[in-house]
């Protein structure tokens, strides 16, 4: 009798453990599936069943996860669960697909809904024996995100028409197309023209950000001469550089720069943003040094002798709409969107951006493009080049 007691306790414990696990699984608001190393379903909780139209007992045992709960990307292409997810997880990695680039779960009846997923390894004593997939229906978030982006896109398009009207009429008045104007009138009209252009740039920046966030942007793949792009950007910015009497040090000039496979207009936008920032955030008579290094891909270096970024704000520099305290009274036409956009786009392309900065000494920004070139993306929209 006394001998049996611990065994009974053990049974009790196991039953207790199982009951507890069942209760957790059944009450979980997320869908949960456990698969073995081959991707066969071992367990499917009630929520997963309710979301997809399957009864847990119909699918556990012999059926493969990718057949029963197929997932797609936005364009409706199947995700190879075993190949692209399970194999990685079996190596011990945890894979997360978040709401920004969601997958779609296809229900038993063929309809689909957006999900965020986490797939983690299941191991016993350090051996990975399978994986557990947890997914959540993010239809509501997705709808909100889409509505927000459609609004920005529509509003931006609608804003551009009256902006064009102001721009063209001011241009004609300034050109004397409808009669001569006095110097003072010219100056006033000049202010209207500049102010309106700022608004056009802001609208363009907003449109670009919404395009990057919705992943609808088209990323091409063509040979790009980065040194040539830098030259183009410098000649665009020449009036501003002259006005601020900056010296431009072109260190890349006497180097042999490999041709990058990338999207030329996107490279242009990235370089334009970095050089424009250096020019804008450096007081008169500054020096801006531009260099290219072809180690581990290609690295662009833009160094200025400007206002710099204070230490306690350096971690916020890539945040949307952020503008550092020390320049708010000096440079008033920043949108807080430029670096945010550059960072987002580089994340998409597989590139990197980082910087060093000291207040009142200057900043150095680095952008690295991988040697393999940029990731292509067949989107529907283009980014608009312009000074954000």
């Amino acid at each position: 009798m006394i001998k049996n007691k611990p065994v009974e306790n053990e049974h009790m414990d196991l039953r207790w453990v199982k009951a507890r696990a069942d209760a957790v699984l059944e009450s979980l608001g997320e869908g949960l599936v456990v698969v073995d190393k081959e991707g066969k379903i071992l367990l499917l909780n009630r929520t997963a069943g309710e979301m997809t139209g399957w009864r847990p007992d119909e699918v556990t045992g012999e059926k493969f996860l990718e057949d029963v709960l197929p997932k797609e990307n936005e364009a409706g292409e199947r995700i190879q669960f075993k190949k692209s997810i399970l194999q990685e997880v079996l190596k011990g990695k945890k894979i997360t697909i978040n709401a920004l680039t969601p997958y779609w779960m296809v229900r038993r009846d063929g309809t689909r809904f957006p999900i965020s997923i986490t797939v983690s390894p299941v191991s016993i004593d350090g051996d990975v024996i399978g994986a557990v997939e947890v997914f959540r229906d993010i239809s509501k978030e997705h709808e909100l995100e889409t509505a927000k982006n459609e609004f920005i896109s529509l509003a931006s398009h609608q804003l551009r028409t009256p902006l064009s009207t102001v721009s063209w009429y001011t241009e004609m008045l300034l050109a004397g197309d409808v009669g001569e104007i006095t110097e003072e009138q010219k100056r006033y009209l000049g202010e209207i023209y500049v102010g309106n252009n700022r608004m056009i740039n802001l609208v363009n920046a907003l449109l670009n950000v919404s395009r990057i966030e919705t992943s609808t942007i088209f990323i091409g793949n063509e040979p790009v001469d980065v040194a040539k792009v830098i030259d183009d950007v410098l000649s665009e910015l020449e009036p501003l550089i002259e006005e601020k009497k900056h010296t431009i040090d072109k260190h890349y000039k006497d180097k042999k720069i490999p041709i990058l496979r990338a999207d030329k207009s996107i490279i242009h936008i990235i370089i334009q943003n970095l050089i424009l920032n250096a020019v804008k955030y450096t007081g008169e008579n500054g020096t801006i040094t531009i260099d290219l290094e072809s180690k581990q891909g290609l690295t662009l270096i833009v160094k200025d002798t400007g206002y710099g970024i204070q230490k306690n704000q350096q971690n916020q520099i890539f945040t949307k709409l952020f503008r550092a305290d020390n320049i708010q009274g000096i440079v008033t036409d920043g949108t807080g969107l430029g670096l945010y956009m550059v960072k987002k786009i580089l994340e998409k392309l597989g590139g990197k951006i980082w910087f060093e900065s000291e207040e009142n000494k200057g900043s150095t920004f680095y952008v690295n493009w991988p040697a393999s070139g940029m990731r292509e993306q067949r989107g529907t929209t283009h980014l608009i080049s312009g000074q954000s």
Binding site: R160, T161, W168, E171, M172, V203, T381, H382, I384
Partner: protein
């Protein structure tokens, strides 16, 4: 001989744009640059100009227009085999710059796509004139 009076070399541009203020500015600026201008706010009007006037040297076209058809419908019809306006260069000047639209326009064989808010009138007119005179973009 008074060259200012000689209009035989004057090129005629058909401007198709639904926004009245923009249309007026484009017309005026083109005229100041020595072009003769006819205007339309829908594709229907545009087609009838092409049929009635005949001598149109170039089309300045917006995407969204009055009526059911867009600039893209106009280009599709114009650039089709056997159409009377197949060889007339078309310049699309629009604020709707989504890549798929731009690609569609270019596939139909338009000469150039300008994003409206990005360009000054004199810039675009200079480019159009250069292209019409030399065939270069």
């Amino acid at each position: 001989m008074n060259y200012l009076m000689d209009t035989s070399n004057e090129k005629t541009i058909l401007v198709v744009e639904d926004e009245r203020p923009l249309l007026e500015a484009i017309k005026r600026k083109l005229e100041l640059n020595g072009f003769s201008v006819v205007t339309a706010r829908s594709t229907e009007q545009a087609y009838s100009y092409i049929e009635d006037i005949g001598k149109i040297d170039a089309v300045w076209l917006d995407h969204y227009l009055l009526g059911k058809e867009s600039g893209l419908d106009f280009v599709a019809r114009c650039k089709a085999e056997g159409s009377g306006c197949k060889d007339i260069p078309i310049y699309v000047v629009s604020n709707t710059a989504s890549a798929d639209k731009v690609q569609s326009y270019l596939r139909f064989g338009i000469t150039k796509y300008f994003v409206k808010a990005e360009h000054r009138l004199d810039e675009m007119i200079k480019e159009i004139r250069l292209h019409l005179e030399t065939g270069k973009e």
